[in-house]
Symmetry: C2
């Protein structure tokens, strides 16, 4: 068991200085504090500290560049709230920390956790190239990631929605409506979920004996505006339906189709992903794949609880569910317009 | 909401008869009782009944043909115990029901659950061709399966160990010891886990730039005896290591190698899977992939709890961990024996 004395010996400084560094005292330099924290983590001091904590203080880190959670329309809102609800019953103190990539490139993950006495954390909105994602490969701090998987580290778990099942339901729904020219507008490229959804789209198309036209598959971003870049090309190349990786993307697609003079769903069907409040409010109300965000947050707490107790959970997936509204309809037969006129 | 009266009307029988059928009274025929139960389930009566239950009675069904759990050496023992432990804190009544395939081909799953007032069940040892596995595609009874996945049903969840990570660690360990001729002796063919482990083996070999020789890959059964059929062929075809899908298979492989005059690990390395008590007792003690069986059982209870509360968890995987003991060693250089003599 590593003691404060061990850390002091290793660094060749006084025990009292180590103690100050670990306890956030003001009368030592920031540089020394950081050195003490980093050394303590390297020597395995963090775990001991965590075990001593009685009422756990846990943190929800949100990448504020990628994930919004302040109001009910936003993706992270119900997730954070679900986490908080589950935390109450566990008597946890929950601190919400929105942070930016540049902050995380300066702070080491484990040191930051130790400094703040966090027994564990739930991380939302992190992209694959984040410094902290790399550091998580070696962390000993119980950590749950939304939509990101770290291999081989028993202290880190992944919670998410089974995208594959969701996309499979959506593509099957479109296939039943007669669509064969289905486009897929994905979210950002440096995201595990985007990769999963593309793979799921390709597999679902194959399961329905539908070919994938590469001109109808694109990576955008998880914002409505990305639709402008791709929609006219999709339609020009014969798409009669667009599967989107999020409701926000889908709302952009519906708008862009309107701007180009196409009706939804009479000319082109559109499906979203998430079932955010905006899905119901769209005109027409959006057919989408529901992620149960409150339960995602609760499940994250449940998994974090397990990790803190030494149950090395690796993956926890919730079911996705297709919600059929009015943005999808039967494919228009070729020459429909001509026959009608 | 379906009432007893609705069921009576549908069947054209008295309300009192339906009540008797649902409550297990003795003075109606078995045939009528079954008809009442099946109709109640079809009409969606089961869910209502489950919601009314205050202290839940849940069931652990064990396929007694495939899964042993009575004593601590056996695979199911810690799993069932872990489940029971987690059930206590939830105030559940747990009934353990070992059953046979022929029993399950006579009873319908949902009707059986309703008849016994089970709020949910945990199923162990079921094979893919089991009647109940097919029926689970449509069940509304909260159900957790060990090592089996039912797609698209929000009432059914799957708990298991991440076989892929376990096999990846094992193959990497062998590759680092210089082995390239690695055999894989799998368990029974009609099992999802066997399929996962074979896929994981092939992927891990590829990740280590090792070719798979099809003569070194075989499906056996999850018992030691299956080793007799394959081991001599593996060695004849140049295998210097055997990865096994269970510790019991590995114990058979170690014995068979001894019978044929090969030393473990000097001539052939052997790796098991599970880390049953037998692994440590083998001569030499077995290098194996540990499944944390107590926590598998606890996680099953945790998932069942979620499903009963309407949290549609789909998959919960625990990490696997390679435990290195003495049945693996460096590959013997070609001509070692000759140089030594």
């Amino acid at each position: 068991m590593v003691t404060i004395k061990d850390i002091a010996e290793k660094l060749g400084i006084a025990v009292s200085t180590v103690s100050k560094g670990l306890n956030g005292a003001e009368d030592i330099s920031e540089e020394t504090r950081q050195l003490v924290l980093d050394t303590a983590v390297e020597m395995g001091y963090s775990l001991k500290k965590i075990k001593r904590t009685k009422t756990a203080k846990v943190c929800v880190f949100v990448d504020s560049g990628n994930m919004e959670f302040e109001t009910i329309e936003q993706f992270g809102y119900d997730i954070v709230n679900g986490f908080k609800k589950a935390a109450i019953s566990r008597n946890w103190e929950v601190v919400i920390e929105p942070s930016r990539l540049n902050f995380r490139s300066l702070e080491k993950y484990d040191s930051y956790m130790l400094k703040n006495s966090y027994a564990g954390a739930f991380l939302l909105g992190f992209t694959l190239h984040d410094d902290w994602i790399t550091q998580l490969e070696k962390t000993t701090v119980p950590t749950v990631l939304l939509d990101n998987f770290i291999p081989h580290n028993e202290h880190v778990g992944y919670v998410g929605t089974d995208s594959a099942e969701g996309i499979a339901q959506a593509v099957k729904h479109l296939a039943k409506l007669g669509h064969s020219r289905i486009a897929f507008l994905n979210g950002a490229k440096n995201s595990m979920v985007s990769e999963q959804r593309e793979a799921a789209f390709r597999q679902s198309m194959a399961e329905n004996d539908l070919p994938v036209d590469e001109r109808l598959v694109a990576y955008g971003y998880y914002v409505p505006d990305c639709a402008k870049t791709y929609v006219s090309g999709f339609v020009k190349n014969g798409a009669t339906a667009v599967m989107c990786a999020s409701d926000l993307i889908a709302s952009g697609v519906v708008n862009e189709l309107g701007r180009l003079g196409y009706r939804v769903p009479e000319d082109v069907s559109v499906i979203g992903f998430d079932d955010l409040p905006v899905a119901e409010e769209l005109d027409p109300p959006l057919t989408t794949v529901r992620q149960d965000r409150t339960n995602l947050g609760k499940s994250a707490a449940l998994m974090l609880d397990g990790l803190i107790r030494g149950v090395s959970m690796s993956k926890l997936l919730l079911r996705a569910k297709l919600v059929v509204r009015y943005s999808t309809g039967p494919v228009k037969a070729k020459g429909d317009k001509i026959q009608r006129s």
